[in-house]
């Protein structure tokens, strides 16, 4: 993972219309951002379209990025996420219904264990630690919503629970997460 400082530097050069900095910015961030889009739209061709549109936007609006508000990677991720969410929420959009349980299980498996966390940045360690304090259902519903772009009603359908129950899982989970991360001084 490229440190935010390096990305910030590249973005500053993009403001000055430095095409090489833009190419480098793409090189160091595009795989991660394509991963973000892929998890939401679940089709490579769509995800690559979203990536293309996002980077064209980033190039044209990089001057509006406010570093006092958010980290560069968060800003770029937000651009891609919003475009991907917009994409899947278009009426009549059929998102391939692959095995969501498998996706979440894999995510649970891939979450770094204590050994891996030794070397990670404080934020990641804190987030993981705080995720551990949630119930499995809360953790799963947040992962499905955030990582895979499921709406409340899609979550309810997928988890075979009433809408109200699922909304409560998400809300309680998010509140707990915030409480824990604030307590750990992460944000």
């Amino acid at each position: 993972v490229t440190p935010n400082d390096a990305i910030d530097d590249l973005m500053a050069r993009c403001v000055l219309r430095d095409q090489r900095a833009f190419a480098e910015l793409y090189r160091v961030t595009s795989s991660r951002l394509l991963g973000v889009a892929m998890r939401i739209v679940r089709r490579r061709d769509w995800a690559e379209d979203i990536l293309q549109e996002s980077f064209v936007n980033i190039w044209h609006h990089v001057g509006e990025f406010d570093r006092s508000r958010s980290a560069p990677m968060t800003w770029m991720t937000t651009v891609v996420r919003n475009r991907a969410l917009d994409w899947v929420r278009r009426p009549k959009m059929e998102v391939p219904d692959d095995d969501l349980d498998g996706l979440v299980e894999r995510w649970e498996d891939e979450r770094p264990g204590p050994q891996a966390l030794l070397g990670t940045k404080g934020d990641i360690a804190t987030l993981n630690m705080c995720l551990e304090t949630l119930s499995g259902q809360q953790r799963q519903s947040i992962a499905l919503a955030y990582l895979h772009g499921l709406t409340h009603s899609e979550l309810a359908e997928h988890m075979k629970q009433p809408l109200g129950t699922v909304k409560t899982w998400v809300r309680r989970g998010l509140e707990k997460l915030k409480g824990c991360m604030d307590a750990a001084g992460a944000t």
Binding site: Q19, F22, Y26, S30, S31, L34, M38, R44, A47, E48, L51, Q52, E53, F55, V56, N57, I58, W59, H61, E64, F65, S70, A71, M73, T74, T77, T78, V79, N82, R83, R89, P114, G122, I124, L127, M129, C130, E132, T133, Y146, L147, L150, T151, H152, L155, K167, T168, V170, R171, L174, E175, K176, L177, C180, M181, D182, A183, A184, G185, T187
Partner: protein, 254 residues
């Protein structure tokens, strides 16, 4: 329409960022965002919190054609050749949403009066979803070291008494070496400067459970936080911490 309750604001921001909020609610929220800088900050904080999730899922390398298409659209030298293609492409996509124009974090003005009037009417007939009140049911202590790095969490549900016991979940995230012949003891710290109460002994495992008698719940409920002390094997001989206290933290009720 203004949302003023801080808890509701934070939750709505969180649901917006996760994407769970959608349809009309999402559009209304985006309208509020335009005129509410504090709400935008809330959204930015949530984006920051949750973005960490993206940092640990698999990356996917894009095919070379993606960069070629981008470069063709941003490089003025190449744009002349491909302008027609890209114009067609963006027309195809039906224009940008307001946040795709990336004024997102800073956008505060520029709405026409008519649009504002329209919005106001719309918001009145479509109030925000109510945030249900829930009772606090989980306690979490994040124990930090002297440099404020989180080292472990202890969490429990005070109501979940099973067979006269309450289960404390301990997650050790990063720890120092446990010296031979010593053990670690967890203490709850009362609010009123009274003596700490021993919660139990622990080890360096990532995931542990400590079963405490239900009779200890009142002390846990009164506690302002927890601390971990280094003790001789078998635990403190005096009933009070005797060794160094490397980690401690405040209790939060969630």
């Amino acid at each position: 329409m203004k949302i003023t309750d801080p808890r509701a604001r934070s939750l709505l921001a969180a649901e917006y960022v996760t994407g769970a909020m959608h349809g009309g609610a999402r559009r209304r929220f985006e309208l509020w965002l335009r005129s509410d800088p504090a709400l935008r900050r809330e959204v930015a904080q949530w984006a920051e919190r949750l973005e960490t999730l993206d940092a640990q899922v698999p990356e996917v390398a894009p095919s070379p054609a993606v960069w070629e298409a981008i470069a063709a659209r941003v490089d003025p030298a190449r744009r002349a050749v491909t302008r027609n293609d890209s114009a067609a492409a963006s027309a195809d996509r039906g224009g940008d949403s307001w946040w795709n124009r990336l004024g997102f974090w800073r956008f505060t003005s520029g709405l026409s009066t008519a649009a504002v009037a329209l919005m106001a009417g719309w918001l009145v007939i479509a109030p925000p979803p109510p945030v249900e009140k829930t009772v606090a049911d989980v306690r979490v202590v994040v124990l930090n070291d002297a440099e404020a790095n989180p080292r472990m969490t202890v969490s429990w549900t005070p109501d979940a008494v099973r067979k006269d016991h309450v289960r404390l979940r301990v997650r050790v995230i990063r720890h120092d070496t446990m010296d031979p012949g010593t053990t670690w003891e967890l203490w709850c710290l009362p609010k009123d400067a009274a003596k700490p109460t021993s919660v139990g002994l622990m080890n360096t495992d990532h995931t542990q459970e400590i079963l405490v008698p239900a009779s200890l719940v009142p002390a846990l409920e009164r506690a302002s936080g927890m601390a971990m002390s280094v003790e001789p094997k078998g635990g403190s001989p005096t009933g009070l911490p005797t060794g160094p206290i490397p980690y401690k933290g405040a209790k939060v009720e969630l």
